[in-house]
Each structure stands twice: as C-alpha cells, then as structure tokens.
C-alpha cells in the first residue's frame, strides 16, 4: 500500500489545518476522511512536516492580553557588531525573554540592532526584570530602550503562520 499522500491531498490537508486541528478524539482520522486518505497517511505526513521543521509543535496561540499578560515590552539594544552573536545568544537564553532577534540598524533614525520581547503582568515588574537582566549580563552600559505596547490594533496570525506570538509581536 502506498503510504504517501498525493500532492493534491497534501495541499488539501494543509488547507484544512489552517483552521486548526479538529477538536475530536482522533483528529488525524477526521482529517483523513476529509481528504480521502487514511489515518496513517495523515500521521505520516504530519511527522514528515515536523521533521522538516515546517512546524515545531501542535500547539496553541494564547490571547496573552485576555490572560493578563498586558505588560508587553520590546527591549532594543545597540550592540557592537563584533559582540552581537554572543550577546544575542546569551540574552536569548535568559529567563523571561520570549523572542530575541538581530535586525538592521537604520542610521541615523534607528541605532538598535538587537530586539528582545518580554511579557509580564505588570509594567513595573517587567522593568525591574529587564534591569536585573542587563545588570546580570553586564549590559547596562549599552545604549538601550524599552518600548511598551499600549494597544494591539490587529492581531491575526498570517495564513500558515500563526506562530505562537513569535510573529505577533516581532515579525
């Protein structure tokens, strides 16, 4: 028996998954019925996508505001180019940093090249947490700014994207 899905079935499966995983006890059976395949084929395709890194996990996207995570800060730092990888990796591993990216400077308007997201329930708590973090990593001397978000105008994951707040806050 051929266990591979046809390209057409693969595409159909991906389309169905855009709406999320069916909320039933055997979701892959349910998806298989919709694309005229069997459960093993669908599970096989899911494992393949997972191994290829097309998705990291079957997970959820939280409405962080509804859950009380209303203090959302973007910490931006001006890190010397020679140190960016080292500092990025260190901060990326630090407790409380949810995302950490290098982005280009746009001089003279924008000098910051390292972007970190920190979410918390209270602004003061996030400010303290970030100050401690910078002190601990001996980074307080680097020019940096904290940009708190005050309003989310639009928060809908891109098609196929719906990354767990990775895209949402940071692109």
């Amino acid at each position: 028996m051929n266990t591979d899905l046809t390209p057409r079935q693969t595409l159909a499966l991906r389309r169905h998954l855009e709406a999320g995983l069916p909320l039933v006890s055997r979701p892959y059976q349910c998806l298989a019925e919709r694309i005229n395949a069997n459960e093993d084929q669908v599970l096989g395709q899911m494992h393949l996508w997972h191994e290829q890194g097309l998705f990291r996990r079957i997970g959820l996207v939280l409405n962080h505001r509804a859950l009380g995570f209303t203090a959302n800060a973007m910490l931006v730092l001006d890190v010397p180019d020679a140190l960016i990888d080292e500092v990025g990796q260190r901060l990326g591993r630090a407790q409380g940093i949810t995302l950490c990216y290098q982005r280009p400077r746009r001089l003279p308007q924008w000098r910051y090249n390292l972007f970190c997201m920190v979410h918390g329930r209270q602004r003061e708590q996030v400010e303290t947490q970030i100050q401690q973090l910078l002190d601990e990593h001996l980074l307080s001397d680097l020019s940096h700014q904290l940009l708190f978000s005050t309003h989310a105008f639009k928060q809908c994951g891109a098609r196929f994207a719906a990354s767990p707040m990775g895209a949402p806050c940071h692109g």
């Binding site: 055997r26 097309l54 998705f55 997970g59 990888d85 891109a158 692109g171």
Partner: protein, 147 residues
C-alpha cells in the same frame, strides 16, 4: 479558568503528542478524560482565551516572508493610519508602542518582492517615513507563558 484549564494550557504550549489518540495520552498525564479536555479546549477557544489550536507552521519555511516595520505617526493622525494599515491583508499585527516610532507592525507576504511592494505602498498611502527591520538572525523563539 480553573486549575485544569491552566494545566491544559501549560501542557499544550509544549505541544500535543503526534499520535493517533493524542487526547487519551494527555488525559492520563493531566488526570482527566479526553472528553473533558476537548470540552475545555473548545470553551477556551470560544471565550477567546486561545486564538488558535493546531500545528504552528513556520511561514518562512513554507516560502513566505515577514518583516517588522515602524512608522512615526503624528498623534492626530494615529487612528486614521491605524485604520489604513488594518485594511491591508499583508499587515498581520499592529501595535502601538510608547516611542517616537509609535506604530509597529508585522507584514506577512508570500514573497520578499511582495514585502517590498507593500512597504512602498504604505509609504505612499501615509506619506510617512518608514523603518524596515527584517530579521537578520534568530537567537531565540520560545514563547511560553505559564498561566
């Protein structure tokens, strides 16, 4: 939200096992039942506590493109510009931040070319200078919110 909801959210943030009967596997872990877990999940999606449940695809691996961009919008025009961006399907997220660069948004397009075109369109539409800050290196992506 009760203790079971919290445990379910925290567990699902680590991912649902990729097996035939995933809820049965989770029910054993969380000392619950498949039916109850599914019921809770449906409710939290209906209440808007969760906005999505399913595989979280990596758009870049699927051939898409992202960027983060910012505008410095004069206060009196803020709402108007927010509406202009809201109307564009390429704008996935838009946040107001406390800074001279006060509007921060993410573009999600199918190609890099479409990103460039959209940025150009936004500049024309708003008449405002724009910062385009595409990701150059990822050091960490691991959003986990213990609730």
């Amino acid at each position: 939200m009760d203790d079971l909801d919290r445990r379910l959210i925290n567990r699902l943030q680590r991912g649902l096992p990729l097996v035939r009967h995933p809820w049965q596997a989770l029910a054993a872990e969380l000392d619950s039942s498949s039916t109850q877990l599914l019921e809770r999940l449906r409710q939290m999606l209906a209440d808007g506590i969760l906005t999505r449940f399913g595989p979280l695809f990596d758009i870049e691996r699927l051939g898409g493109a992202f960027t983060l961009a910012a505008l410095a919008v004069p206060e009196e025009r803020f709402e108007q510009v927010a509406e202009q961006l809201h109307a564009l399907p390429e704008v996935a997220h838009n946040y107001r931040r406390e800074h001279a660069w006060n509007m921060w948004f993410v573009l999600a397009c199918s190609t890099e070319q479409a990103i460039a075109q959209t940025l150009h369109h936004i500049e024309n539409l708003t008449g405002l200078p724009l910062l385009n800050l595409p990701k150059e290196e990822t050091y960490h992506v691991g959003v986990y919110f213990p609730v």
